[in-house]
Amino acid sequence: MREVVVISGKGGTGKTSLSASFSYIEGANAVVCDCDVDAANMHLLLGANFNNQSDFYSGEISVIDPEMCTNCGECFDVCRFDAITQEEDTHIVDPISCEGCHYCFQVCPHEAITMVTQKAGDVYISDIKQGGKMAHAKLGFAAENSGKLVAKVKSEAKMLALKEDKGFVITDGSPGIGCPVISSLSGANLVVLVTEATVSGLHDLKRVYELTKTFNLKCVCIINKYDLNQVITTKIEDFLLKEKVPVVAKLPYDETFTKALAIAQPIVEFDNSSELSQTIIKTWDKIKQIINEEQK
């Protein structure tokens, strides 16, 4: 079982569209893992049925019992997050501001405070198109995207892949460079960096690439919308050459991408015979080849 993690640093480069196409091609031989838990989209492209749901708990917030509260204000004095306010004859906690540090809990002289574990999201295992399976999640509103939910989704995907003897886990990573991305990258056999031929695409590619270097991960790159700006494409290629990151594909700015997106289909499902689809299919083969070579 090999894991391919697709990340981009910047949003809107086509990362999810491409991961979905790879999943569609690999079909029942892959488990898909949607780690973009903050604004998950893969389920739309792959027709997920949200079959199996479980609650996900993470983080705590304090709750003050107004019956036990004597309004002494000790909690208010220690809270660094402005989460506690006084209301009439009791103190109350703002659940959005509460950081869950439980300092107030430590100091309350009347045991009026309890720490309550929060339901931070839902984890799903779905059946998807072409006989595949997908682990994904929905982060709760105002929940902290600590990376823990991502870790949970990853572990569900991996366990499923091992149990059902699948060849691949295809992970759609989170945007950015913080905890959720780091969590998405954990255990990857290969990282696919998706970038676009724009000034901001190059900028964000460099930042997220540094992250992969920290974890010593093997990377390849796909340059999307390459013909939008040849100057930037060349700059991207120069950067990647210097870093010895192979470019496995250069995809043109193609309305097919958007048309497929607009009706929520992976490109290879929408128009399998198009040049774009054929390129994507070849790219996935290349990626698999590179992984297999790495393992030797």
């Binding site: 993470s58 983080g59 574990t117 600590s146 823990k148």
Partner: protein, 113 residues
């Protein structure tokens, strides 16, 4: 030597747990006394972050000289281990506890640091 295994069960036939920080169970084998002790690691379920170092502290508190596991420990946990002269062996993630011990004795496991 006291050897700690990260496991999914409590006997020599049990499967190893490839994880360290969030491993389900620790089996402690005292080579001299030939005893096998079980320590559960369930409190890490509720923790969001920083599990590695906490688990490391726990394991060292059990008197471990050698830790045998699958994937290994993260940066923070490794640093704690280094300052205590304990050795971490990896690569036993898919084995049973017995197989893992034999592999360790036969020098077939890798030292993580």
């Amino acid at each position: 030597m006291k050897i700690v295994f990260t496991t999914k069960g409590t006997t020599w036939d049990s499967q190893m747990d490839p994880r360290f920080g969030r491993a389900e169970t620790f089996l402690i084998y005292d080579e001299e006394a030939d005893t096998l002790e079980t320590v559960v690691n369930s409190e890490t379920e509720a923790m969001d972050h920083g599990v590695g170092p906490q688990t490391t502290k726990k394991v060292l508190g059990l008197g471990a000289n050698v830790i045998i596991t699958g994937n290994g420990a993260g940066q923070k946990a490794l640093e704690v281990l280094k300052s205590f002269d304990a050795k971490m062996y990896v690569g036993a993630g898919d084995m049973t506890v017995e197989e893992a011990y034999e592999a360790y004795k036969a020098n077939k496991l890798q030292l993580q640091f």
